[in-house]
């Protein structure tokens, strides 16, 4: 799998891209592949506050529920509404159209503390 170079990643299998002060957050290809067919996505409301490392929602597949952890702190400015009716998009395009939320980031410098694409790929390789 190709993990975009301009994203950063977590060991809990979230990805973040940063543009200006706004981060887009999703789950990785590896995460959706491990979960299998995704049937529900629970996301916070616009205006909610994310704390780094804390669960902000969940993704549910036929066989399991998995928490999603905030890779970066900030305030939710937008959620991907299409996932409420078409959760399977997370299996199809996890790094693109099936992003989860957009966040106004507290401290953009935190982005650089996350894993690079190369490091994440190594981590996933070692895990599986």
């Amino acid at each position: 799998m190709n993990y975009p170079e301009n994203f950063r990643y977590t060991k809990e299998h979230e990805w973040v891209s940063l543009e200006g002060g706004t981060a887009t957050i999703g789950i990785t290809f590896h995460a959706q592949s491990e979960l299998g067919d995704i049937v529900y996505v629970d996301l916070p409301k616009v205006g909610a506050t994310l704390e780094t490392g804390k669960s902000f929602g969940s993704v549910e597949s036929v066989k399991a529920v998995s928490d999603i952890y905030a890779p970066i702190a900030g305030e939710v400015t937008e959620i991907n509404e299409t996932l409420a009716t078409a959760p399977e998009k997370l299996n199809e395009d996890p790094h693109g159209a099936a992003w989860l939320i957009k966040v106004k980031v507290e401290s953009p410098a935190d982005f650089n503390n996350l894993l690079s694409a190369a490091d994440y790929q190594t981590y996933v390789g070692a895990e599986s």
Partner: protein, 366 residues
């Protein structure tokens, strides 16, 4: 348990080579999915799927008194079985709880073949041995067999290509010994999916050859290898119990809605006294099916509320791919363990509406 300690079936290499997602299932390294759980589930409902179930255990009981041991150790009436017939049964403790749920195959009066759950096989074997005052030979036969299930409406056509045994002559829950894909095999018309199909028992060294022959024979029918994930949603839609979920050491067959496998009038069997008492006093809880009404999936071990108060627990819950609903099974107080009850299931600290419904959720078209 570390990865190194996991047990492997003879088909482990086939699963890994074909990119199946593997999981630790009760100490076994097993495929949970191949192409995708829902795709595999639908393939079994509409065409045919193949499962490696070689992790399942086998126990063979032989001797002049074999009938008496099997009949004493299990709840169903073994006297009703003809040679070549099988039935579902319970292996109970004296207190009426399950040691395991099993299939009993009668080879002859002097020979019975039990198929038992993988993670219970050692316990089952010791349990049966402890009851063996009948001088039977009780053999732990798991290592002697690989088991492959071919399931779905097209299973008969696919399997028939691989054997001279007239498969349409084997009725549901009957079996025959024959040659399958060129090797000796026990061919049983049984399964754990709610579909028609066969379970093939053969020697481990033949497993890969049989598997490949089935995949080839099923190509036209659209056969797909399936994992334990689909096996679980298929059995749940058909309301087949899973040990550790619907049944266990603290649950009796009467509570698990399995009174039909308990034959009180057959004579003494382990657990009979306890079950008789239970039947007299009346059971206090029972297994019942539910459908989610609110958004969410009530899963294994989630709490069930009646009128806002804790009343029971979910034993299995999942989206039902064939039905397009979220379904499950739960224990409720006996007075409420019937269809049409409004209940709530606590899903991540939120009470979500559900309703009890008749089961099985799915029954195959006849």
């Amino acid at each position: 348990m570390t990865a190194a300690a996991l047990q492997r079936t003879p088909l482990n290499g086939v699963h890994r080579a074909s990119g199946a997602k593997m999981v630790d299932f009760g100490g076994w390294d097993m495929p949970v999915q191949y192409s995708g759980l829902i795709d595999e589930h639908n393939t079994v409902r509409n065409a045919v799927g193949v499962f490696d179930v070689s992790h399942m255990g086998e126990i063979e009981i032989r001797g002049p008194e074999a009938f008496r041991l099997v009949d004493y150790a299990t709840t169903n009436a073994v006297s009703k079985l003809k040679d070549g017939q099988a039935h579902y049964s319970g292996l109970l403790y004296e207190h009426g709880g399950f040691v395991d749920d099993i299939l009993v195959h009668k080879v002859s009066d002097r020979s019975y073949f039990l198929c038992v759950n993988a993670s219970n096989q050692e316990k089952d074997f010791e349990h049966i041995r402890s009851l063996n005052t009948f001088d039977c030979e009780v053999e732990f036969a798991g290592p002697k067999y690989a088991q492959i299930a071919i399931q779905g409406p097209k299973a008969l056509g696919v399997a028939q290509k691989l054997t001279d045994t007239e498969l349409s002559g084997i009725k549901y829950y009957w079996f025959r010994d024959g040659v399958f894909a060129g090797v000796p095999a026990r061919i049983a018309r049984t399964g754990y999916t709610g579909e028609d199909g066969f379970e093939i028992y053969t020697a481990p060294e033949h497993a890969v050859g049989v598997w490949n022959a089935i995949m080839d024979a099923g190509k036209e029918a659209g056969i797909k290898p399936c994992g334990l994930g689909a096996r679980n949603t298929l059995r749940l839609e058909s309301k087949m119990a899973l040990y550790g979920h619907e049944i266990g050491a603290s649950i009796s067959p009467l509570e698990a809605d399995l009174a039909w496998i308990v034959k009180f009038d057959k004579g003494d069997f382990v657990g009979r006294e306890a079950l008789l008492k239970q039947r007299e006093k009346g059971i206090s809880r029972k297994l019942v099916g539910f459908e989610m009404r609110g958004r969410g999936i009530g899963r294994d071990s989630y709490e069930v509320l009646l009128g806002g108060n804790a009343a029971g627990w979910v034993t299995s819950g999942s989206p039902a791919p064939t039905l397009g609903k979220n379904i499950g099974l739960c224990y409720l107080p006996i007075g409420n363990a019937k269809p049409g009850e409004r209940i709530e299931i606590v899903i991540r600290n939120q009470a979500v509406e559900a309703e009890t419904v008749p089961t099985p959720f799915y029954k195959r078209p006849q």
